[in-house]
């Protein structure tokens, strides 16, 4: 099941989102239902669990574990469906905050920092992948285990301090790392020259203030694309 969890989003689509993936990951366990793969219990459960679901892929294990336990314990379908609906959003919210909005940017900054202090390609890539995936694979394993052991009472487990307070601490650490890592990396990319470094940091700060003012309206990568397109055109034509 753990291995199937890694492929949870293989059939992500706009109708069932992660739903079919949840069914896919639970399928091996559901074979233990009375009657096996041809039994009514198995078919009912598989159909139910493959419907629409939307959550964070790393914490989906909590749902897969808890729902598996509920199905194998023979909880009535209506209650399972209600639980399934209520579980998706909170898991998604906790996972998005912890992983996409803290752990990933933090590890990214650490990688950029290793580059900044002169790290070799192997060192940068190795540090980033080991650090990030230590957190990633632990989180997935924890989720599946806690889901299987708690079943329908899994809510309390989401109060785990790592999930609740983690984003704040990781955020503080990320800000600290950003202060060292980004200027160092910029220097290394831009090449030697103090005046140049000063000018770069000055212009970038103005840019950041502008972007911060726009906040949710701005999509940084689109702006980057526009500016670079103009720059390349200008340089080619003159």
């Amino acid at each position: 099941m753990y291995f199937r969890l890694l492929a949870l989003q293989g059939s992500w689509n706009y109708e069932t989102l992660n739903g079919t993936g949840i069914g896919f990951a639970m399928e091996p366990a559901l074979r233990y239902l009375p009657g096996g793969t041809d039994g009514a219990a198995y078919r009912g459960a598989l159909a139910r669990e493959s419907r629409y679901f939307n959550t964070h892929p790393y914490l989906a294990g909590v749902a897969v574990g808890a729902l598996t336990r509920a199905e194998l314990d023979g909880i009535e379908p209506a209650r399972i469906e209600r639980f399934r609906t209520a579980l998706a959003g909170p898991l998604g919210s906790v996972g998005d905050r912890l992983v996409w909005a803290s752990w990933l940017p933090f590890c990214s900054l650490v990688g950029i920092g290793v580059y900044g202090v002169g790290g070799s390609p192997m060192a940068v890539v190795g540090t980033f992948l080991l650090l990030y995936n230590a957190g990633h694979f632990l989180l997935r394993a924890w989720g599946l285990r806690i889901g299987l052991s708690r079943g329908l009472n899994v809510a309390a487990a989401l109060g785990n301090p790592v999930l609740r307070q983690g984003p704040q601490y990781i955020g503080s650490a990320a800000a600290l790392v950003a202060g060292v890592a980004i200027p160092l990396a910029l220097q290394r990319v831009a090449g030697p020259g103090r005046a140049l470094a000063g000018a770069i940091i000055g212009v970038a700060l103005i840019g950041i203030l502008l972007l911060a003012g726009l906040r949710e309206r701005a999509e940084g990568w689109r702006i980057a694309l526009g500016v670079l397109a103009v720059f390349v055109l200008y340089s080619v034509l003159t």
């Binding site: 950029i112 390609p121 726009l214």
Partner: protein, 227 residues
């Protein structure tokens, strides 16, 4: 770029494109990794790493949720890394041109994900009755074909992008007009700005966040003085 040269790169783009969403999401597809691997494939890992760091900073802006289209960085960084690593060292236009090509690829690749997700929804529509009946075969076949299509998607995007941008970037570098020093500087400013804006968006509600950031800057200043 001839087809034979592009094939191994396309294979890497396929594998890393798959990592973004489908399997196993171990972030091997982050630009800092993907571009470095592509650079190694071309025989120039440090160049891959350099553009990887630039793209990584820009990618900090993308939070991968929402039904909206978002750029797909895995295949894009492979393209960027391979292009930049293939240019002769010290050419002034190489970094901006390769970065631009990678950003365009990210955008196209993001669009290809939307197409893929619609295709899977279409397949789902056709096998819905069987899945609603609890058919194991129907579910497994939907899921596995979804993953195979994603693999194919990443490979095709990378291949097409390499065929188009390979010669384009070389041509741009050949006629590049402006000086060499500002060419890196402009890219660096853009990357730093996007990274700063993105980090502010994500972390501005963290308590004392600016003090932590200034603490980091102090550490950087200390390094500058002591070196």
């Amino acid at each position: 770029m001839i087809l034979l040269e592009a094939l191994p790169i396309a294979l890497l783009g396929a594998l890393l494109g798959l990592d973004v969403v489908s399997f196993p999401q171990a972030m091997v597809s982050r630009p800092i990794v993907a571009a470095t691997l592509a650079g190694s494939l071309v025989g120039n890992p440090p160049a891959g790493l350099l553009i990887g760091v630039v793209l990584e900073m820009i990618a900090l802006d993308t939070l991968p949720f929402g039904a909206s289209r978002y750029p797909e960085w895995g295949s894009a960084a492979v393209v960027g890394g391979a292009l930049f690593a293939a240019q002769p060292a010290g050419m002034p236009g190489a970094l901006p041109a390769s970065t631009l090509a990678a950003l365009l690829t990210a955008s196209i690749s993001g669009w290809s994900m939307v197409v893929l997700r619609r295709t899977i929804a279409g397949r789902l529509e056709r096998s819905r009755d069987r899945i609603e009946d609890g058919s194991r075969d129907a579910l497994l076949s939907l899921h596995l074909s979804g993953m195979s299509l994603d693999l194919l998607r990443g490979g095709l995007v990378t291949l097409i992008a390499m065929m188009i941008f390979g010669s384009l970037v070389r041509a741009i570098v050949a006629v590049w007009g402006s000086d060499s020093a500002p060419s890196h500087a402009v890219v660096v400013v853009v990357a730093a700005t996007v990274a700063g804006g993105a980090l502010w968006k994500v972390f501005h509600s963290v308590r004392w966040v600016l003090w932590f950031f200034f603490g980091g800057l102090l550490g950087w200043a200390a390094l500058l003085v002591t070196r």
